[in-house]
């Protein structure tokens, strides 16, 4: 009995009360349970928000949704690396476990950030396939199965923001949209129907804050939890935009 009582988990959490207030650190210690993940630990703290000094404090704010690493909402910096807190198992983490928000994004409160810029970027690059019309356009062209399987890997992106957090060129001094929306351009341009808007998407990422801001640090591909080949996508788009810019300049068929 006594042995299980002494086993605890220690957290050092970076907190921030409002979007503009200064961040501060607070430490917590909770009882260990087998198979805990960072979210279940945060829930435990929320149940009884008392820090290591024994002071009552406010519960910690964080985002979550799917709890199975498909929505991306729960991303935060855990022991120095951005990742999803729902799949961060306490047993595999060095203690004290340090949690910070991904400060590349505006902090809403504590570990909660506002990833709106990513969704805005997806709109900007038209990361969808327009099929609406005033009449039934009929079935689109078919996609070879092998290509579908390949494209599925790119479609796994959950807009979590980890790749933007890891990128040295995504910061307050630059307006680079980051790797995730770029790779989505490659995905939608590869689709037989999406391809009909290929030039439009390429033109968009040839605009300010677009593709050319990549400096090839390749942190994104090392960090993406879904294993998306981001740097291959970027290099492939570099090739596509090279051709597109020649088409634009020399005035041959621009579609």
């Amino acid at each position: 009995m006594q042995e299980t009582k002494t086993k605890t988990v220690r957290f050092v959490i970076s907190r921030q009360d409002t979007p503009d207030s200064a961040p501060y650190q607070e430490e917590f210690e909770i009882d260990y349970r087998p198979n805990m993940n960072v979210i279940s630990a945060l829930m435990e703290i929320r149940r009884n928000p008392v820090n290591v000094k024994g002071e009552n404090t406010t519960p910690i704010a964080w985002d979550m949704n799917c709890l199975e690493e498909v929505c991306g909402a729960c991303s935060m910096i855990i022991n120095g690396k951005p990742r999803q807190s729902c799949t961060a198992l306490v047993d595999q983490l060095e203690q004290p476990i340090r949690l910070e928000p991904m400060r590349t994004f505006p902090v809403v409160r504590d570990l909660q950030v506002d990833r709106s810029r990513m969704f805005d970027s997806l709109k900007k690059v038209k990361a969808w396939i327009p099929i609406d019309g005033t009449y039934d356009l009929g079935p689109g062209p078919r996609m070879p199965e092998r290509k579908r399987q390949w494209a599925y890997e790119l479609s796994k992106c959950m807009t979590c923001g980890v790749c933007l957090e890891a990128c040295p060129n995504v910061n307050s001094k630059s307006d680079f949209i980051g790797p995730a929306p770029l790779s989505q351009v490659r995905l939608f341009n590869a689709h037989p129907t999406g391809e009909m808007n290929k030039a439009e998407r390429l033109e968009q990422i040839m605009g300010d804050g677009g593709l050319a801001n990549c400096g090839n640090s390749q942190n994104c591909v090392q960090s993406c939890p879904k294993g998306i080949p981001l740097t291959t996508s970027i290099a492939a788009l570099n090739r596509d935009t090279t051709f597109q810019s020649f088409k634009n300049f020399f005035g041959s068929d621009q579609i």
Binding site: G80, K81, A166, P168, N169, N171, K173, S174, E203, M206, G207, D208, G209, G210, L211, A212, N213, G215, N216, S217, Q218, N219, Q222, S223, P229, T231, T232, I234, A235, A236, L237, N238, R239, D240, T241, T242, S245, F249
Partner: protein, 202 residues
């Protein structure tokens, strides 16, 4: 070009880094290497370069203007990055950081080097073996030159790697790994050429 000035500028920056600035760097290192054949061999090679027709025109359009654009825009690029090698210690991230650091070192070195040689020549000094012998007899200047030359070569070799990516020539991870090895080879080979030339003056 309309509406995508940044794209155009970045591609131009990338292109100028290789053609003509990178090619000039290689040519310059090769000419300097004649110093290993002795004073006369170096002076002959340098004299041949000096007596090329339209010299000032060539210098302006092949060296000064491209280098100036690349250097100024390069500074802007270098200082918009927020380096994070302590958190993400991957090989390519280190290269990313070193590409920026070596660019700044190269800029300092090249500015000094042009002042000491080309600008002085415009004032009537003669650029020859003896001039370099005098400069490099000072141990501080010798090491300043070693660091400057090696950082310029690193910057060019690693820049060649990213040039291949920036234009979409090396897309697959495998081609990017192989071009890493090739550019490391270029770095080592040119470093030998550059350092041999410098040591020939002392």
């Amino acid at each position: 070009m309309a509406g995508n000035r940044e794209f155009f500028n970045r591609r131009l920056h990338s292109l100028l880094g290789v053609i003509p600035v990178g090619l000039f760097l290689v040519q310059h290192l090769v000419v300097n290497h004649f110093a290993t054949g002795g004073e006369e061999s170096f002076n002959n090679a340098a004299h041949f370069m000096e007596s090329l027709p339209f010299r000032i025109f060539l210098e302006t359009f092949v060296i000064y203007l491209p280098l100036l654009f690349h250097a100024i825009y390069g500074l802007y690029i270098a200082f918009t990055a927020k380096n994070n090698t302590s958190r993400y210690g991957y090989f390519r991230n280190w290269m990313f950081m070193l590409q920026r650091v070596s660019g700044v070192i190269t800029l300092v070195f090249v500015a000094w080097h042009v002042w000491e040689t080309r600008v002085q020549a415009a004032f009537g000094a003669e650029v020859n073996f003896q001039m370099m012998e005098n400069i490099l007899s000072n141990p501080f200047m010798f090491w300043f030159y070693i660091i400057g030359v090696i950082s310029a070569i690193f910057h060019f070799a690693n820049g060649l790697w990213s040039f291949l990516v920036s234009w979409g020539l090396t897309v697959s991870p495998r081609s990017q790994v192989i071009s890493t090895y090739v550019t490391i080879g270029i770095f080592i080979a040119l470093s030998i050429v550059g350092v041999r030339a410098l040591t020939a003056f002392i």
